[in-house]
Structures are given as C-alpha cells and as structure tokens.
Amino acid sequence: MFRQASKFLLARSSAATMRWRCPFSTDLPVETAVDSKFVDAWKQSIPNLEPPKTPSAYMKPRPPTPSTIPSKLTVNLALPYNSLVSAKEVDMIIVPATTGQMGVLPGHVATIAELKPGVLSVHDGNEVTKYFLSSGFAFVHANSVADIIAVEATPLDQIDQTLVQKGLAEFTQKLSSASSDEEKAEAQIGVDVHSALNAALTG
C-alpha cells in the first residue's frame, strides 16, 4: 500500500525541487551508480547486446541542499489511494509524531518520524488546514520538502463525534475486560485512536 504512495511522492518532489537546483561551479555532478564490474563481465560474454540498466541507473541523483534556507516548506500528504496535499508551499506544519507534536519549519533538519494517530495541521499565512491521520510516517528532507504518508487521513469535519464517543466507551470497556496480550493490545490501540479522534474534535 505504501508502494502507491511513492508514485505520487517521486513526481511531486522532483517538480518541487527543480526550483532549488542552482548549479555552483564547485559542485560535482552526482554520478548515477553504474556497476563497472558487471558491465565488463557482460561485455566479455555478450558483446553484441547493450548491458541492462539496473534500477539505480534510472534514479535521479539526490537534489542538492540549497545554501540559503528556503522561505516556504513544500508539503506532500499521500495516501495509498489519493494524494490530499501535493507540492503545497506553506509556512509550517505540525505532525503528530510518536515522540510528541513536532513542528516543521523551512530549513528543518532532515528527519524521519513515525506518526501516531493524531492531527496534522498545515499553516499557511493565517489559514490552518487540519487533517486527522491514522498513522504513518513523515519524512523531512534537507531541501525543505516534507513528505507525509498515512494509510487513512480525513479533514476533521468528516468525523462523526457520536461514533467516536461510542467507540471510546466500547474500547475502554474492552480494555478493562481483556485477558490475553493480543486483546489488550487491540483494546489499547482502540482507546488510543478514539481518544486522539476525540481530542482532535474538541481541541
């Protein structure tokens, strides 16, 4: 399921980072990796055919980190079936990492964060857009591009408050009556997700 997400990401991040690519005379171009031993062995045994390209030959080299911090952060929010935010230039985002709410500004150090169920808020000038994420990962790259991938994400107004409270009550009850480890874990996950949903709706 995350395989699909990377299709959206690759197209988006290369379009966004085109702007930041300023060639300096001191920068060496990054060589796409070619395995010379393999190519030589191929040419010896099959001289008539072109050696096949390996996946790394098709990969674009990593975009260079710009020397000045960009003024805007480029955000991509991708789900397995849809891309909710693609290449949007914003001022700041706050992601619900497992280690706590993490604010990401342009020029943030490159980070990979695992996300817990919670609210992603995208701040652009005065407008704030919030999405509830079920869980996923956030990748912040050195060139101020933030890629967030989640399995399920919804704007807050699509969440039904009564269902959330019913679910919370149900899972709290399951947690207290759970016996085996798996049941406890599932009930705990239910309680976590529903309390996060509740906090998102009321906070």
Partner: protein, 70 residues
Amino acid sequence: MASYAAVPFWRAAGMTYITYSNLCANLVRQCLKEPYRSEALTREKVHFSASKWVDGKPQKPIIRSDTGEE
C-alpha cells in the same frame, strides 16, 4: 532515540507494524460521517486467491473475498 529495549506495546504483544497501521486506519474509517464512511469501507474490501504448489502442481486455492460474489 528509543533504545532497543523499548518496543511499542503492540509489538511486545506480537503485532507487526502493518497490522497496527491497518487496525488504526480501520478504526478511523469506522468513525467517519455517512457518505465518507461507506466509501471508506469499500476500500477495505479484499479479494485474493492463493494456492500452495506441490510437485509442480497447484493445490486447492484458498479464496478470500469481501466482494460478495454470487
């Protein structure tokens, strides 16, 4: 930053990340408002057929389908 010993509670209970993530997504989908909820639940439907192979021949396939075939 977390030490190797500190695993999340679901992993300690034997669950993998994929199972955890899918479970969270399922719970979120159950809490959506009506038109979104039915669309979201169709996304969870799975249909597959898997068969083990013995001596180069496929055995009886296991078919798992939520699409309600008649």
